[in-house]
């Protein structure tokens, strides 16, 4: 079932968490809400779930206006960053919870509950852990149980709040691939919040980039990466170099792999010196210092780097192959983001 968010705003005292946000999530899609912390993405997720109430705007779940409905009525599956498993219940009882709290008339029989829980535990490949307690499981296992518990109520939509945020890098990678495969199997409309661009690019069908309570861009991973709509997006998704005043007085942006370097001066190239360089497998990351004292990051292939015979302080020429210029409206000096890459 699809999610329609219409002109939703939400303030916490003086802080504007959501500023007139509209978004449509088509049925069966996996959408990532991406942005720095405090950009409003988690608030939007909580508003969809009914854990927060918007000051204005509408939430429509599966064609029904859910703006004023209670959390309990919305039938959304929600996965928390820190799992929020019921610590005093076994894994089995955690997953069974959503079925057991149903009104007597709608509650499945005990045998049916057992069958359903088994099925879900098999789906998340943890059926052998049914009798253990949450604290006996690893972080990755706990999050899979949290997912099984959320799916037990047969939710209309699945919402995940930084689901891999508390896990270490390796488990995180495995789990997000697993989530993608799971989504391809069950096709449940899903929205997940992340501040990790790699996660969003790898897992999502579409990415919604948030900044200061507003949506900066909505698009497929390719679109937001290749055709960023604003300086904020190009900066937040991957690395980018900013070149001051290239035509019309507007700055231009180029990704590190969109810059050519050479030993001899080519047409339109500028001189720079090598500040330092790092080898990452087949790639070499160069940091150059321009005549104006600015830093430029350049990625080159290993073979090319070998031809350049790199050394610190060495003189080179660089030329952006492709510069992205944003129209004046989009190129408003974006407030300094509070993260670093």
């Amino acid at each position: 079932m699809g999610i329609h968010i219409q002109q939703v705003s939400k303030r916490f005292n003086d802080f504007v968490a959501l500023d007139n946000v509209s978004l449509e999530v088509p049925s069966g899609e996996l959408v990532a809400l991406l942005g720095p912390s405090g950009s409003g993405k988690t608030t939007l997720l909580r508003v969809i779930a009914g854990l927060e109430h918007p000051d204005s705007g509408q939430i429509i779940l599966g064609g029904e206006d859910a703006t004023h409905s209670q959390v309990q009525e919305r039938r959304v599956g929600f996965v928390f960053q820190h799992y929020a498993l019921f610590r005093h219940m076994t894994i089995f009882e955690n997953v069974a919870f959503g079925l057991r709290v149903r009104p007597r008339a709608e509650r499945p029989a005990e045998s049916e509950i057992r069958r359903r829980v088994r099925e879900l535990l098999e789906l998340v490949q943890l059926d052998w852990q049914a009798d253990r307690y949450p604290h006996q499981l690893s972080g990755g296992q706990r999050q899979r149980i949290a997912l099984a518990r959320a799916l037990a109520i047969e939710p209309k939509v699945l919402l995940l709040d930084e689901p891999f945020g508390a896990l270490d890098a390796k488990v995180r990678k495995e789990l997000r691939r697993w989530l993608r495969r799971l989504h391809d199997e069950i096709h449940l409309t899903s929205v997940f919040v992340t501040h990790d661009q790699d996660e969003a690019l790898e897992v999502a069908d579409r990415i919604v980039v948030f900044n200061h309570g507003r949506i900066e861009q909505i698009g497929t991973p390719e679109e937001v990466y290749e055709k960023p709509a604003s300086p904020f997006v190009i900066d937040f998704l991957g690395r980018a170099n900013r070149f001051a005043a290239v035509g019309d007085g507007l700055p231009g942006y180029a990704r590190p792999h969109e810059i050519d370097v050479s030993l001899d001066r080519q047409e339109g190239a500028e001189p720079a010196t090598v500040e330092h360089f790092t080898v990452y497998g087949p790639l070499v990351q160069l940091v150059l210092t321009t005549a104006g004292g600015e830093s430029v990051e350049v990625d080159v292939f290993r073979e090319q780097a070998d031809r350049l015979v790199l050394a610190r302080g060495q003189r080179l020429y660089y030329r952006p192959r492709h510069l992205q210029v944003f129209p004046a409206a989009a190129a408003q000096p974006a407030a300094q983001p509070e993260y670093s890459i």
Binding site: G50, L51, R74, F80, H88, Q136
Partner: protein
């Protein structure tokens, strides 16, 4: 104990070795001896004397002192005061802790301060407050007189005073525990379709059960042992408004030492029972608190070593 912290692991390994070689063993011995002697003087000796004095005239006298009608009435009244104030403060403590730990609202800091009030106010003052409110000359005195209701120098006053002095215990135990556990589990329960009641009974209360029990034990101990506040509102009417601590005082003032000690031994026994229960529950409660704090701290990124499942399930 050495006052200087070892500067390096090497130093910390060397330190005990040196301590063993040098003839400094009398220092810890002396300190331990002092501490034990002090404990014996102010704790074990008085406790022993209570029981020795209680049994001075033989076991049958002991029993008859307790079976005396006024003593039985005092025990009954003490039990009534505890039986009313413990459940009341249990409900109050859970609601106050729930509100403070799980919600944001205006006046929260004030509520936390107010909960501590009975700790900071002298029990005598607490008793006087009720006399000033409900006594014959008090604010509600005339109205109560018209309707023939008696609060001061009667059982309701004793219950009120006991409730007042004991209301912080449950709330104080639960607030830090609930705060450490956060709101996630309650939110998860609501999202899974649980009503407020279901969430309270199935998630919130089971998570704090040891803290709750600990609070109840402390409340009960204080409710049965309270002297000051109850003394002010009781009026000391024998067989009617005397609780056990008040009864003990009266017997003592009448030079009826053995009977007084016999009643005191009941309270002392209760204190010992409370102590045992407290030790057992406290261990569980600390485990729950530490688990909540650890989870909040490291967010469970590391697999937790398997532990025997809690037997209380």
């Amino acid at each position: 104990m050495s006052a200087v912290l070892p500067a390096s692991p090497a130093a910390s390994i060397a330190a005990p070795a040196r301590a063993r070689r040098e003839p400094l063993t009398w220092v810890p011995l002396l300190l331990t001896g002092l501490a034990l002697a002090y404990l014996a003087l102010v704790l074990f000796l008085p406790l022993a004397i209570v029981f020795i004095e209680a049994l001075r005239k033989g076991f049958s006298f002991y029993l008859s002192a307790l079976a005396e009608p006024d003593a039985l009435e005092a025990i009954k009244l003490t039990l009534i005061a505890a039986a009313i104030s413990v459940p009341l403060n249990l409900v109050f403590g859970v609601s106050a802790a729930w509100a403070i730990a799980k919600f944001e609202f205006r006046g929260k800091a004030l509520l936390i301060t107010l909960i501590d009030l009975p700790f900071s106010v002298s029990p005598v003052i607490a008793g006087l407050i009720f006399v000033l409110m409900f006594g014959r000359m008090g604010w509600f005195g005339p109205w109560l007189g018209e309707h023939d209701l008696k609060i001061i120098f009667a059982v309701p006053g004793i219950v009120l005073a006991t409730v007042f002095v004991t209301f912080p215990f449950v709330a104080r135990e639960l607030i830090p525990l609930m705060q450490a556990q956060g709101r996630d589990e309650e939110e998860a329960a609501a999202l899974l379709g649980a009503s407020g009641w279901q969430t309270l009974w199935r998630v919130t209360l089971p998570n704090v059960k040891w803290g709750l029990l600990y609070g109840v034990i402390l409340t009960n101990a204080r409710a049965m042992g309270e002297f000051g506040a109850v003394s002010v509102v009781s009026g000391h009417i024998r067989g009617e408004t005397n609780t056990l601590p008040l009864h003990i005082e009266i017997l003592y003032n009448e030079y009826n030492f053995t009977a007084s000690y016999a009643c005191a031994s009941v309270l002392a026994l209760l204190a010992l029972l409370t102590l045992v229960a407290k030790v057992v529950v406290e261990a569980r409660q600390h485990a729950a608190m530490n688990a909540a704090l650890a989870e909040a701290r490291d967010l469970g990124t590391e697999p937790v070593p398997a532990r025997a499942p809690a037997k209380d399930k």
